[in-house]
Amino acid sequence: MKSLRIIGSAFKSLGRNKLRTFLMMIGVIIGIMALTMVVAAGLGARQRVMERVRKFGLDSLMVRAGAGQTMGRPSDGQPTATLKVEDAEAILREIKQVADVSPQLHRPQMDVKYGDKSTSTMVLGAWPSFATVWDWGAAAGDFIDDEDVAGAARVCVIGPTVQKDLFGGAKPIGEMIRLGSVQFEVKGILVAKGTSPSGGDMDNRVMIPMTTMMRRIANIDYITNIKVRLKSVKDMDKAAGSIKALLRERHKTASGIPDDFTITTPEEVTETAEKVAGTFNLLLILVAGVSLIAGGVIVSNLMLISISERRKEIGLRKAVGAQKKNITLQFLLEAAAVTFTGGIIGVALGVAGSKILEIVTKTPTAVSWPVVILGLVFSSLVGLIAGIHPARRAASIQPIEALKP
């Protein structure tokens, strides 16, 4: 009963001085808001990586030309010219865990024209197996077939974005488009895939037979990457090892010389993401910790100021019978209530901020409730700790203070 009344006193005094209460809260509000938003952004980024891995396929791995290119970026200077279509054929032929392969050679940007219309798109040379390995075939018309590859046919399958840019509403199948100086007949339209997890437009592409790509567009005899689909997810490590050995042998890489290709398994991507997320989380804890400590210092200081303003009140409370512990409890509660309320407001603003961030930057965010709850618990704790010194000082004020004019 008595404790309840003292709790009541604490809340009443907070209500009586709203500006002071708000100022005390503001540090914690900002800290918790930042924490919520940064965690949401971080988790969003991680989910994006997971989504990418899931879309890529857990039963697949990627072989890229060049060493140490996890992000698929050409290394300094010349592109690595050692990965060949024959390597893809060898992988399919000699590694028994492999179900299918899809070698690719792409140009990130080329102008494509239809009549007087023109657009910029990615051009990708591929085998018919692309459709099954990537699970990405033609939605209308036909995909590239074996005959097209054998004859280096000048046919193409276009993405929905290219279709929209060049043809508008008109039917594209059977029409001729131009890539550079070469005419291509549109034989199909790709299934729409929308935006990639990294924000690119996956539908802005033109696919042509690998042979056509090599001879008529790129004029090179090497490729950029091979996606390998396995018969079973369980064979991932074994298959990756075998492919590595096979390619080293085929490329005549002496022992001690690093690979001239990079094999990326979904597991590696996930691991990297986890590692990045782990570092990120550590940073977050630091950021949150620092901002909460700053908030706590603000609370502590404002409480000390408020206590010197409220000496008379405290003296009076003691004069009419408040014991030290009653005053201590009241001020600790005031501090904890301030920071807890600040925490709640911070979470609310953080969630709202994350949504705004999502809309503005077009990258997904994910609010993590455990982190939010942890933040609230933490903010109350900060209040309690920040309140200890002021509360003790308040409790030590003598009742005689109440009598001083």
């Binding site: 009443k12 004069a319 004019p405």
Partner: protein, 247 residues
């Protein structure tokens, strides 16, 4: 009626003892107060009368000497034990009212009860406000009340936990004469109902309302007399012009 509520023996209060700034506020005061007394403590400012009151009221400790409150030794008690004694036995009224700002009259009156073990504090506080004639002002803030009303709220706060003794330190110091008489009249009524009242004042006119008057000078009791004919504040109020117009 012969029970002693306060028995003080040779109390001394020395500030900064042993230093060059040593000041003896109370040199040697022995004083007994019986239950039901209305005692006026007179003295010029700096005479030590407030210090005596603070010591008797357990707000301060004597440097030496003993104080018995309701026959219990209090000079050796801890801060928290003294707080309990103040809460149970003593009510205070101060010159500057000392009401909590931005807090309603009712909540101000409740304050001593917050720190007591009693239940129904709202009801008790309302009764105390009624006793000082301010029941209708329960939801007003101190800023909305006149000085006299504020002091009556403070008296209700002093009364609410049914203390044995009320110490009032210059309760009329910040009031006009009408409000002063109203406050003194209230004390006289409470005294008639059996409350022990200790009224500290430097105004002889106010002190004359007490039934026993002591005078303190330079930290000693220099006079202790029974006031055979205490003034009635009620009568003086009646004599004041324009009472009807104000009420």
């Amino acid at each position: 009626m012969n029970d002693f509520i306060v028995q003080a023996q040779n109390i001394q209060k020395i500030y900064n003892p042993g230093k060059t700034s040593e000041v003896a506020a109370v040199r040697d005061v022995s004083l007994d107060i019986r239950k039901g007394e209305f005692l006026g403590i007179m003295g010029a400012s700096g005479s030590g009368k407030s210090t005596v009151m603070n010591i008797l009221g357990c707000l301060d400790r004597p440097t030496s000497g003993t104080v018995l409150l309701d026959r219990k030794e209090v000079s050796g008690l801890s801060d928290d034990e003294l707080a309990k004694v103040r809460n149970k036995l003593i009510g205070f009224v101060f010159q500057s009212f000392n009401l909590l700002p931005r807090t309603t009259a009712l909540e101000n009156v409740e304050l001593p009860l917050v720190y007591s073990e009693r239940a129904n504090i709202g009801r008790l506080a309302r009764m105390a406000l009624e006793a000082v004639g301010l029941k209708h002002r329960d939801n007003h803030y101190p800023g909305e009340l006149s000085g006299g009303e504020q002091q009556r709220v403070a008296i209700a706060r002093a009364l609410v936990n049914e203390p044995e003794i009320i110490f009032a330190d210059e309760p009329t110091g910040n009031l006009d004469s009408r409000s002063s008489y109203e406050v003194i009249s209230l004390f006289q009524k409470l005294n008639e109902q059996g409350k022990t009242i200790v009224l500290v004042t430097h105004e002889p006119d106010i002190a004359e309302h007490a039934r026993r008057i002591i005078r303190i000078s330079d930290g000693r009791v220099v006079e202790d007399r029974v006031n055979e004919n205490p003034k009635s504040a009620e009568e003086e109020l009646r004599k004041l012009p324009g009472k009807e117009a104000k009420e």
